[in-house]
Subunit: 583 residues, 2 copies
């Protein structure tokens, strides 16, 4: 059936049976791509029928769909001219894992963070109304995304409007892991009462409401969407779907198959071996040991528990000390501040890209109050996630310029744990630690147990003429450059591990003036607003030459780290060449 | 009665009648301070009885109060040993307008942004539980603050917990202006049904619920709080209060008296004249004209409509084109992105400090998608708001390092409107405009109508040896320095208006190398991560000396701008002296 489908128009004449066959075909295509590329399997499989029904009833792109977080947009992509990205190996990389306006007129936004769909779609609707145009605007949002503040702000806003707006709430009773939050009791009550529970979260937001129990039944969904098409006020269509539907393993082990590595379809066995030592597992082991020793140590996660290694089993074991707040980073950071204020030892961990969702809480709730909470910043690196919506190269300008925050960059496993341990036990500062991303490098060196003398850099090799200040997981790059300068040019540079991202060691920098005339900074992130620029400012009035090495300020997408490093002249050879030229 | 009250213990033995007399005394004290200093009159007057009842029933600081946004904490301050800050003129400045742990053990956080109380308090509660301690934790939050995403994340989190937690929802049916959002229909239904409406927002969040209709009746409040004291699960106590209670003008004109300048108590007449030309009124006049001419122009505000001049009357006139989304900045920016995507011309305006609440929406919802919305950044300056929670000196590092965002800094009224007009009409970039804060300075100069050739700086005076790059509302400071160099030292420096905060004019900067050996940058904000450091990086490898002038990275509180400028060597004399020394 899928062979005949090249645009949404092609499904409008299909019979019920044909639509069901189409659903089966689409499922196969999704599993095909996922098995070879990996990706968000569970949410996509659960939404096949809904998406078919949406395209059957509505007329995209005149009617406009906005898929929240777009983890469930693959059927939409397949129906809107992009099926080859799921069927043919050589076309896989032409299609991104998220909605993408560059791919299709049926996509309106690049979306990869949760809880944004209602707000973005409400803007489409408002523009429609101001232009005097017609058409439906439909936001599609999962139950897991409801816990994010932006989503609730969106529901609240739209609940007051009197205009066409349809919110499809895809309720599969799961976030990435199990849901956390009081609203999920209400969603359960609604499901169990077939939508008739008098206390109704969506109605409390001022919205009209329709419940569809059989959320994987195309015919029932078509009927529901036909009812709400061209409605003149906002309505929630709450549908009950099965996450992972159609792939037994994903139906049974929902969390494991929310996102999955490439796998053998028949067995589910991953085809990529990602075992071996890694920071996630090391961190979990460390935290679990700390928790056992001290009930005041509490790890807080916002929906992504397994990304710092807290599997379901471990979450149960540490129920009181592993708090999953749902996808609610703002709450997570503020709560951490409150805990630290009252004598506990909180560690809030998430990805660099998701820390962006909580800038003001870091600044206002945490740093103005100078509470000693620990923020653990994951995948903050050019080697982090490489989708445009999940980049880990902006945290240095975002976080290191907030007063009072001590932002630390370890260079190896041992230094990471020295810093983390100090951070958890100290009571003076909010501290963020940037987890290295260049593999688990070990050192026999002794690392300080105390980082309370802020902004003291460490000289690793004493040299002269040139000083290389190599931050965090670019430290090894700095070492390589130093070795190359030595071996190829007979120069022994000074090599420095700055350790602190958020401040300058002015004494050391002053001292460098005596026997150095070039300072090179290396940082794993964009240069604008970053670490190296602070050094450049420090030496601005001096004859010292400063060469800042890092990334260009730009959004990059589905890149290879090696390519980006080369483009930014960040290989050891390029850096050495640039230093020699500067001499 | 107030004379005898020096700590919360002193009210525990008072009779009903005495408590009522105390309330009257406190009200007088609040009005006394407000009339001389200005401040948040309405919310504080409405909460006198509640705060007395809270301190009567609970035992602060063992029982812990967290006041949301802390616009209503004055009675709490008065009851906890700080009454002189309200009674005696010479003590006014010892007491801040917000809760402040440096003032008292009864305050747990510096708070000035909305919607944070439940999350912060939930951290206090979690730490209490992990330490095995007892005591009540009480978050006090107004209905207006409920619309913020962080608040709803907090409600959702706590709704799932099984521990003591009390949320007092102070419902006066007002935000700063009238409330906006679907939830307010539910609050009304709850008030009108004496709390018995079966559809209940708070219950939908999983919370227990108690309604108190007479929210300004101390006895009823005491009864309610006694009921919930030491409760072992979370509960909302929803109280119906009168904003501005006890000062007739504030009861009648709630919006005008939410925050008020110093005034004559008898008449309400302000004692400070703030009429005269200002950017707020100029901006409103401009926007109203644009809106009249084009229905696609839509101004979006998040609770602070009057801060960009949209009074109640004007909001009514432009009902479809002035969207107050409630205190929901995340939604505001995302909605603006959606509107721009669909061909409208949105302008989202708020204070510099409140843009912090929407970093991720600027980055993800807006800038990754490169939609042509306009962000209008108010009070972004050392001359902006001077409370630690409302500083306007961090927006340059926060916003100018986000890719794709064009951040513009006008130097006078005419340039501001040239930039704003270009921003609204262009269709290529997300643009932010930083409204000057140093008074309305006019210029007869012609300003470009087109800023689409990005990052082209403008040379105002051609000179040599020294180039002064003076950004935005520090441009006039740059002019003064140039004049002083000329008059006192016979030097004619080059003076440059960079116009673009977010990028470098590399051609011009290269050209400067020919006849200049010192570049001075001036910016109205912290230096770390800011504009000047980019210039320092650019010249890092050159002999050019770079002197960056701006503020130190720190939280400052209730400061005088002149003092801060002097401390940071930012007077024209100091800068000139430093330049001469550098020569």
């Amino acid at each position: 059936m899928l062979e005949k489908i090249n645009s949404p128009k092609d499904i409008k004449t299909l019979s019920c049976e044909q639509l069901d066959i189409l659903a089966a075909d689409i499922r196969k295509a999704i599993i095909n791509r996922m098995s070879k590329r990996g990706g968000h399997l569970g949410p996509n499989l659960g939404m096949v029928e809904t998406t078919i029904a949406l395209h059957y009833v509505f007329d995209s792109p005149t009617d406009k769909f906005v898929f929240d977080v777009s983890h469930q947009c693959y059927t939409h992509k397949i129906l809107t001219g992009r099926k080859n990205g799921f069927l043919s190996d050589e076309d896989f990389s032409k299609i991104s894992g998220y909605t993408n306006p560059e791919e299709s007129e049926h996509d309106f936004f690049n979306i990869g963070h949760t809880s944004t769909s209602v707000s973005l779609a409400s803007g489409l609707a408002k523009a429609r109304d101001q232009k005097g145009e017609k058409g439906n605007v439909i936001a599609i949002i999962g139950d897991g995304s409801l816990s994010g503040g932006e989503a609730m702000e969106g529901f609240d806003y739209i609940g007051e409007q009197q205009t066409n707006f349809i919110i499809v709430v895809n309720d599969n009773d799961m976030s990435i892991s199990e849901n956390h939050g009081g609203i999920y009791k209400n969603l359960r009550a609604l499901r169990e009462s077939n939508g008739n529970c008098p206390c109704n979260l969506f109605k409390a937001f001022g919205l009209d409401y329709l419940y569809v129990n059989e959320g994987n039944n195309i015919q029932k969904l078509i009927e529901a969407f036909q009812k709400v098409k061209d409605i003149t006020h906002p309505i929630v269509v709450h549908i009950n779907t099965l996450k992972g539907k159609g792939y037994k393993l994903a139906e049974t082990h929902k969390e494991e198959w929310h996102w999955h590595l490439p796998f053998v379809i028949e067995t589910g066995e991953p085809t990529i071996d990602e075992s071996g030592e890694n920071y996630v597992e090391l961190t979990t082991q460390y935290l679990m040991k700390k928790m056992k020793a001290d009930p005041k140590v509490v790890a807080i996660v916002a929906g992504v528990a397994t990304n710092i290694g807290f599997t379901e089993e471990r979450r149960k074991e540490f129920a009181a000390q592993l708090v999953d707040v749902g996808i609610a980073e703002e709450h997570g950071v503020a709560m951490a501040s409150g805990m630290a204020r009252n004598g506990a030892k909180p560690v809030f961990a998430t990805h660099s890209s998701f820390f962006q969702r909580t800038y003001d809480q870091i600044s206002q709730d945490l740093c103005i109050n100078n509470n000693p909470a620990t923020l653990l910043v994951n995948t903050a690196s050019v080697w982090g996630m490489n989708d445009i919506t999940h980049l880990g190269i902006f945290d240095i300008p975002m976080m290191s310029n907030i007063p009072n925050l001590v932002y630390l960059a370890p260079t190896c496993v041992e230094e990471y744990f020295a810093m983390l341990d100090w951070s958890i036990e100290q009571t003076e500062h909010p501290v963020a630690v940037r987890i290295p991303c260049n593999g688990t490098i070990h050192s026999n060196k002794y690392f300080a147990a105390d980082y309370s003398k802020l902004n003291k850099y460490e000289t690793i090799t004493e040299g002269k003429d040139i000083a290389i200040i190599a931050l965090g997981d670019f430290f090894q790059l700095g070492e390589s450059v130093a070795q190359l300068l030595q071996s190829a040019h007979g120069i022994t540079p000074t090599l420095i591990n700055p350790r602190y991202i958020s401040g300058l060691d002015t004494d050391m920098l002053k001292n460098l003036k005596k026997e150095h005339h070039i300072v090179v900074t290396l940082e794993d992130g964009i240069l604008d607003g970053g670490f190296g620029e602070k050094i450049a400012r420090f030496y601005g009035k001096d004859p010292m030459k400063v060469m800042n090495c890092g990334l260009k300020k730009e959004f990059i997408d589905r890149y290879k780290a090696d390519d980006i490093l080369r483009q930014n002249r960040l290989t050891k050879e390029q850096i050495t060449e640039d230093i020699i030229r500067l001499m």
